[in-house]
Amino acid sequence: MEKRGQLVFEALLVIIASGVVISAFVMAGKSYGSQDAYYRLAVAKDLALAIDLMYALPGDVVFTYPNDVSSYDIEIKDYSIRVYSHKSSLDPVVGTYSFAGTSTDKIEVAIRGEKFVRLEKIGNNIKISGVDK
């Protein structure tokens, strides 16, 4: 009985491993095929460029990123922006892009499912938040 159990366990292991691999490929394929992967990378790059430019500005400024990002979660930390699906936390396709920070400011924020991103520079610090309008 123990021997048969081992074989069933092995088969289950193979099925689960195959399921994980196949679903990861399917999710990635869908994401690339629908251009969604490029859109989230473009969002990450846009936000990185906006942050880079805001650090260069001598005064205060407020900018609302006008593209709808409600389908995504956006994480900003360690001078890097990650954009991934709001529906699945195990999204294999993440749009990632880096920006250059400063020693006087450290941006760490997570925006989950909100429509727009608001970037606000006051003095040498940038504050980022999600807004719905």
Binding site: E10, F25, L57
Partner: protein, 160 residues
């Protein structure tokens, strides 16, 4: 699947099967890499930042930000404070987490002020030359309480 087949736990991890799983993992990894390469080759250009816009964008802070070198005691534009211009200050206003980011080497010169200083970002590679050298930017240089004409020369690596 032959459930009637006799086997033991040690058979499950028998040497032959371990070799199978190693080869399987390698093949899976190669397939994933192949998939990513194909997808990125045929991918849309919508996420591409054209030419060297990002590098130009990044270097703006060296001209304009009081957090970098700009003299901020008075309301003046494009004035570099010679006292602020050093490598430590540069790497305080340009912090990066990966070496693929654009690298900069800056040279501030003003003959009348007697200033000739160079500063490099932390990811500048001395073993290779610059990829692009910008035309000298005319700047005012604040030194010892006075303003002088000067210029800022910027060299770049890892342009993107």
């Amino acid at each position: 699947m032959k459930f009637g087949k006799r086997g033991t736990a040690s058979e499950m991890w028998a040497p032959g099967k371990i070799i199978f799983w190693i080869i399987f993992d390698i093949m899976l990894g190669l397939t994933a890499v192949f998939f990513i390469i194909i997808v990125s080759k045929f991918g849309s250009g919508q996420a591409t930042i054209q030419k060297n816009v990002e590098s130009l964008n990044l270097m703006q802070r060296f001209f304009k930000s009081p957090g970098c070198f700009v003299y901020d005691k008075e309301n003046l534009m494009r004035v570099i404070d010679a006292d602020k211009f050093n490598e430590q200050q540069l790497n305080n206003c340009y912090i990066i987490n990966n070496n693929g980011m654009p690298a900069f080497k800056l040279n501030l010169k003003s003959e009348k002020a007697g200033v000739d200083k160079t500063a490099k970002t932390s990811n500048w590679n001395d073993n290779i030359g610059y990829e692009e050298r910008k035309a000298p930017q005319n700047m005012l240089v604040y030194s010892n309480g006075k303003l002088y004409n000067g210029e800022l020369i910027i060299e770049m690596q890892n342009i993107r």
